[in-house]
């Protein structure tokens, strides 16, 4: 399909660079955006682990202070039932991270299996698998997730992760397929095939290592998708409203008219946390993108030097700066 070619073209042309560069693992961590992203993500990961222990209150316990704005006793204020919002936020982090990463891992495994086999096998297998992943891409995921989880008894974290993974693997699969397709034609893969190495060996030792960057990138993308979906589901009230996560907080805020009552502290912090977490994932992916596609590398790190020397980098007009 023509569309497939055009959308993946930039990745494919730079595959060689990515493949070779993948050997210097984590070089991309020198990228400023990626470092910021990993730092924020790490912060939330730590909260997910220790949140339970540092939360000042039990998130469910009703308290005497009702609908209080932030104070020394309740840093982020209280709900209409006097529950401590900071504690809800801290404890809810775990649910967000677990579902996000569990769904991300399952979906990425699915994407690898389907994408790599489609790209490697080619022919009818490729046609069928590609059609399946395109179908899953085109069907709007959220309504699908809603009708599945809506009819499932009990929407626990495991079930939600599974449903999100089943609906969210297609994007990664598509990218991996395109990449595998271009790798398959490379000399080193052709050589291994000519040597009669087994398919598993070729895929495991020749192809997958060269896909590392793309796999990580698609994993991060899927985690973002999973987190947003899960929070949205919780916000709508499709999933269990008794398990704390940031979406649940927003659900209760919305159903108790936090907005109309001007209780900004009830929904602003949760949203900011989502945005921050989402941004950290997006930053990591920008880092990986720039690592895979050198054309995207920002000239930002040179911004200071450029200003000092009065350089304006422009396309088609090479700057002339004479040494003083």
């Amino acid at each position: 399909m023509a569309i497939d070619l055009t959308i993946t073209a930039p990745d494919v042309t730079t595959a060689a660079v990515a493949g070779r560069a993948a050997r210097h693992r984590f070089v991309f961590l020198r990228n400023g955006k990626a470092i910021t992203g990993v730092a924020i993500l790490g912060f939330f990961a730590i909260i997910a682990i220790i949140g339970q222990f540092i939360a000042p209150y039990d998130p469910d316990t009703l308290g005497p202070d009702i609908m209080q704005p932030p104070s020394a006793a309740h840093w982020l204020g209280t709900t209409n039932l006097g529950q401590d919002i900071l504690s809800q936020l801290l404890i809810g982090t775990r649910g967000v991270m677990i579902v996000g990463f569990a769904a991300g891992i399952i979906a990425t495994i699915l994407a690898i299996i389907i994408g790599v086999s489609a790209g490697y096998a080619g022919g009818v297998v490729d046609e069928v698998l590609s059609a399946v992943s395109n179908i899953f891409l085109v069907i709007p995921a959220l309504p699908l997730i809603i009708i599945i989880t809506g009819q499932l008894p009990g929407g626990g974290e495991v079930v939600i992760s599974l449903v999100i993974a089943v609906t969210g693997w297609a994007w990664g699969s598509r990218i991996l397929r395109a990449q595998t397709l271009s790798l398959r034609k490379r000399d080193f893969v052709e050589a291994s095939r000519a040597n009669g190495e087994s398919i598993f060996r070729i895929i495991g030792f020749e192809i997958l290592p060269n896909l590392t960057a793309i796999i990580v990138s698609s994993f991060i993308g899927t985690v973002t998708f999973a987190i947003l979906s899960q929070i949205t589901l919780a916000f709508i009230g499709v999933t269990s409203i008794s398990e704390w996560n940031w979406g649940t907080i927003l659900f209760w805020a919305q159903s108790n008219q936090a907005l109309a009552r001007g209780a900004w502290w009830w929904f602003v912090p949760a949203g900011l946390c989502i945005a921050l977490l989402g941004m950290s994932l997006a930053l990591i992916n920008f880092g990986i993108d720039e690592f895979i596609n050198p054309r995207l590398r920002s000239t930002g790190q040179n911004a200071k030097a450029m200003r000092r020397r009065g350089i304006v980098a422009r396309i088609g007009f090479t700057p002339v700066v004479r040494k003083r």
Partner: protein, 326 residues
């Protein structure tokens, strides 16, 4: 036209897949919630409606799966999607019919605006790369990471509750009777501005970033260097050579991410209690109105498919390579 033919076959298959998924989901679940609903509304549901629901949800366990499937298709072709319990006894098809135009108006219009404006800004910052314009990137990243509905909540807080500029909910003033007069249309626009702005604000960043990256990639193509070497005007190179090519993957990206965007905007309708299909879905979920949920899913999927076909047609018009014979 091979390209279009192939795409068309793909959409037919996708439509079939969506309908089939819709058929199997209730049958794969343990227990059947619709039985409970029917029991609750016993005596109020007409025999015809019961038959339709039986077919839609596979309530008759004695029938073979194949027979159920055939009957299911017959039912769909007659435009029967069963009965809504939320809006009892309105048929699902009617509920959908009433709410779909609102969604098409709001989501369709704001998505198109967001795409064009975002693409335009992305073109500019991709072209002016390495200048102050890059400072927009972190802001855009932040907005692309924010969930749509949360931005909606903030917008309501700021513009409706604090500044009292725009209404916070509904598609029009509830005191008005829907007809095509001046006051009503004015009310619709007034009620639409805030949700539309919020949808634009939260989805525009994605288009900006995508177009910016494509511009950066395309500007290092040889034909852009050639255009520079030819001494063409900056505007001509930026739009005619760079953006003209960068927009192609942007459009295929538009087609592919429509499903995702529509999902986000549906939730926006829930926040604004906008009388579109997303809000209907929300009400269906809250009331566990399964026939309505399934009907809404089907209609949303088919609408996205139609939008995809339009995007493909536009792509074909813009890329001569797809028009190649053979």
């Amino acid at each position: 036209m091979r390209f279009l033919a192939r795409r068309f076959i793909f959409y037919v298959i996708t439509a079939w897949a969506a309908i089939t998924i819709n058929f199997f989901i209730p049958r794969a679940m343990e227990g059947n919630p619709v039985d409970a609903l029917l029991a609750r509304y016993q005596g109020q549901v007409s025999p015809d409606a019961i038959r339709a629901l039986t077919v839609l949800f596979g309530l008759d366990k004695n029938q073979s799966l194949w027979d159920q499937y055939v009957q299911y298709w017959q039912l769909l072709f007659s435009g029967n999607l069963g009965l809504s319990f939320t809006f009892f006894p309105t048929p699902v098809a009617t509920v959908v019919q009433q709410s779909l135009p609102w969604t098409l108006g709001l989501v369709g219009l704001s998505t198109v605006i967001s795409f064009f404006v975002g693409t335009l800004i992305g073109t500019a910052i991709g072209w002016k790369r390495g200048t102050w314009a890059d400072g927009l990137l972190p802001v855009a990243t932040f907005f692309s990471a924010v969930p749509y509905f949360w931005l909606g909540l903030l917008a309501i807080m700021l513009f409706s509750l604090t500044l009292k500029l725009l209404p916070a909910a509904q598609g029009y003033d509830p005191g008005l009777i829907p007809n095509l007069d001046f006051i009503f249309i004015g009310s619709v626009i007034q009620h639409g501005i805030l949700p539309a702005l919020t949808i634009v604000l939260s989805s525009i960043a994605g288009w900006m970033l995508g177009m910016r990256n494509m511009m950066v990639t395309v500007t290092s193509e040889d034909y852009v260097s050639v255009a520079q070497a030819k001494g063409l005007s900056e505007r001509r190179i930026m739009f005619g050579y760079a953006a003209r090519n960068a927009i192609l993957p942007q459009i295929s990206g538009f087609a592919l991410s429509l499903g995702f965007i529509v999902s986000g905007t549906l939730v926006m309708e829930m926040v604004f209690s906008y009388p579109g299909i997303g809000f209907v879905l929300y009400q269906a979920v809250s009331a566990k109105d399964y026939p309505l949920m399934q009907g809404v899913f089907l209609v949303i999927t088919l609408s996205v498919l139609v939008a995809n076909i339009i995007a493909d047609l536009v792509y074909t018009l813009l890329d001569p390579r797809t028009r190649q014979e053979g």
